[in-house]
């Protein structure tokens, strides 16, 4: 009975109406709530409409990614990474593969790297389109959201063309990619990017100077540089505070140091800055993709190093080394050398890093992910306290919490 009463008090359906009269009202936002995309719960204390206290509770989407990885072969983890940040699955694929490559101490062929840059930036754009669109939708700009989803659809068709899937991409391998660019991909890419640009222009007109929109997001959820750093922010959230930290520049990986792009920064770190930073990053990513497509070198898309690359079928059936290699790779998997590494990449939300431990046995000892939005959710209380309850929506929309990478 006591359990029932506490449960009722916690879910905000207390049966006595007298506690409405108390000055501070506890209200449970989530886990099933329209603004809580992904699943998360905010236990919020309200004084009238003002938030006086808030406590995020995460873990509703915990699937044991890290533990599951320890019981898989190295290569079997790649499909799991699709489901981490499910609005930019290719960036997760790339992040994990590059981490394992770092463990091996190898680098993928240049053509593979350039392709990864293109696909990664496409994923970054889909990530930002989803985040900005969903956040705008929740404060009422529904049309804006659907226009962005239309743009995202163009890009997901490209992803589908490349990988055969929209979300469950499973595209990269250690030392390259599973597939090369399909025929006509680069011309399709150009076509889709120009469509994206026209939609961006249209949406920019619709929202960026809209008085109601600016009123809703300006000075809402601001966080200072110092707080942002001490909470371990990264990605667009940190850049909106004015710190130009981008893993692609700070710790260049892949071929990003050969490409020319700018890192947009905000000044106040409020929701409006985050919106502008993301919009600008979409444009920067578009330009990165164009540069990478221009510079696309010829050559192999997968390393031909032994025990990393499945031998060709003619070798498997034609000579004994090929057959043995194939058998060992299927039965035992990859054997990265013993050691531990941390490989940060710039995910859609920020620093998306894998910490890997290998004992050389063929099974991962530890696969640890540093999810960028974990830190953002942690900072929700300091961003929301003192604001109105309606401000939770743009603030939470702007941090782009993705349940998959947050709860793993």
């Amino acid at each position: 009975m006591t359990d029932m009463t506490t449960l009722q008090a916690r879910t905000g359906t207390s049966s006595s109406s007298t506690d409405f009269s108390s000055s501070v009202m506890t209200i449970e936002i989530g886990p099933a709530h329209p603004a809580m995309h992904g699943i998360v719960r905010f236990t919020t204390k309200l004084d009238g409409e003002l938030i006086v206290e808030m406590e995020p509770e995460i873990g509703y989407l915990h699937r044991g990614f890290e533990k599951e990885s320890e019981n898989s072969k190295w290569i079997q983890v790649i499909p799991y990474t699709d489901r981490l940040n499910y609005v930019s699955p290719l960036l997760c694929n790339i992040g994990y593969s590059m981490a394992v490559e770092k463990l091996y101490g190898i680098q993928a062929p240049r053509r593979a790297e350039f392709t990864r840059v293109i696909m990664g930036e496409i994923s970054r754009i889909t990530d930002h389109l989803t985040c900005v669109g969903a956040a705008a939708m929740e404060i009422g700009a529904f049309t804006f959201f659907l226009w962005f989803i239309k743009a995202r659809e163009y890009l997901w068709e490209l992803v589908e063309e490349m990988t055969g899937a929209r979300l469950t991409t499973n595209w990269t391998r250690f030392g390259g990619n599973s597939m090369d660019l399909p025929d006509g991909f680069l011309s399709d890419l150009e076509d889709r990017l120009s469509k994206l640009e026209s939609i961006m222009e249209e949406c920019d007109k619709l929202l960026t100077r809209n008085k109601i929109f600016i009123d809703r997001v300006k000075d809402v959820g601001a966080i200072s540089k110092e707080d942002a750093l001490s909470y371990g922010f990264s990605g667009p959230m940190l850049r909106a505070c004015g710190i130009p930290y981008d893993v692609r520049r700070a710790d260049p990986y892949s071929v990003y140091d050969e490409l020319d792009f700018e890192i947009p920064v905000g000044s106040t770190g409020d929701c409006f800055d985050r919106f502008l930073v993301r919009m600008e990053e979409i444009r920067q990513s578009t330009s990165i993709i164009k540069q990478a497509a221009d510079k696309m070198p010829a050559g192999p898309f997968m390393t031909d190093e032994r025990m990393l690359h499945y031998p060709d079928k003619k070798d498997v059936y034609g000579n004994i080394e090929g057959l043995i290699d194939h058998f060992k790779m299927v039965m035992e998997g990859h054997h990265p050398p013993e050691g531990e590494i941390y490989m940060p990449t710039e995910g859609g939300n920020g620093e998306f890093g894998f910490y890997l431990v290998s004992d050389g046995s063929g099974d991962p000892v530890r696969v640890r992910l540093r999810p960028p939005c974990f830190n953002f959710v942690q900072a929700m209380p300091i961003m929301t306290v003192g604001h109105y309850v309606a401000d939770i929506v743009p603030i939470f929309g702007s941090i782009n919490m993705i349940g998959g990478e947050l709860d793993r």
Binding site: T13, S16, L207, Y388, V393
Partner: protein
Amino acid sequence: MDFLLEIIMTPAILACLKIAVIILLFAMPLGTLLTLMERKWSAMIQDRVGPNRANIGKFTGNGLLHIAADGLKSIFKEDTIPKGANGFLYLIAPFFGLIAAVAIFAIIPIAGPIGNFTFQVTDVNPGLLFIFAITSLNVYGAVLAGTSSNSKFALLGGTRASAQMISYEVFMGLALMGIFMVYGTTRVSGIVNGQNEYWFGNLVPMWGIFTQPLGFILFFTALVAETKRAPFDAPEGESEIVAGYFLEYSGMRWSAFMLAEYVSLVGVAALMTTLFFGGYHVPWLHLWENAPQWIVTILQILKFTFFTVVFCWFQIQLRWTVPKFRFDQTMGLGWKKLLPLSLVNIIVTALVILTLA
């Protein structure tokens, strides 16, 4: 036959008949149709198709059957009452809004009088003051639903709705003062006939929108806020307080809230047409000497319906174009900007009238 006509022409029966015709043949069908039209129009704005799947055999009516499907669904849904809710208040709350929405049509003329017969349920002396009285009844629906549901989200929605509607009523009245001054009456028939005058010979009709441009914007804003439509739908607050005051309702009671919203949308449109766009008067029709009465009446009904639909469309377009205000911003806009503006409007109108007189 004469006897039958006599019965029909008794004022009480006649009023009932008019209520039936105006409300059942004009307001309700238009309101119901708008539930579909809103989805279709928003689909057009957003490059979608919109609802088109409800069917009888191969007939879909391009989505028209969704109206019937929605109605049937909500009739057969369980009418739930949450635990700890105040049963009686909870049950009657949905109908306040519906009654208030429908009652607006009591004083709106949809065509000019033919002899003694008017196309208006009643032309009460207080006229528009009746509208203010009725729309304030609307508040009770939201407040009762909010407080009786025993849900904190509903409570927040209810308090927001009451604060918003009460404060917007204040300057809704003030915004209309200009109209009262220009046409010198609060009676609806007086205002409508006043708009049939012309400026510069026969060039410009003296419609409310030309005599009271600021009053038009203010009154329209106030009405949209009063009906809690976007961008002033903080009381519903879809994204933060889920559905606000009618969160706990289901089935037909929930539909009553929805229907009230759409009927009052039509009500707003009809009111705007009546007060600011010459009501049923077709402009420049008086230039056609001895036009047959029946053609005039049909033209008047068509003109009135056309402007009403245009205003319905405008409200829907508004909803799907702009984001929503936060609750405190709605209140700030009302008290800090629109209220002073409507006072300025009154003073300027008064000065102009004094100078011209």
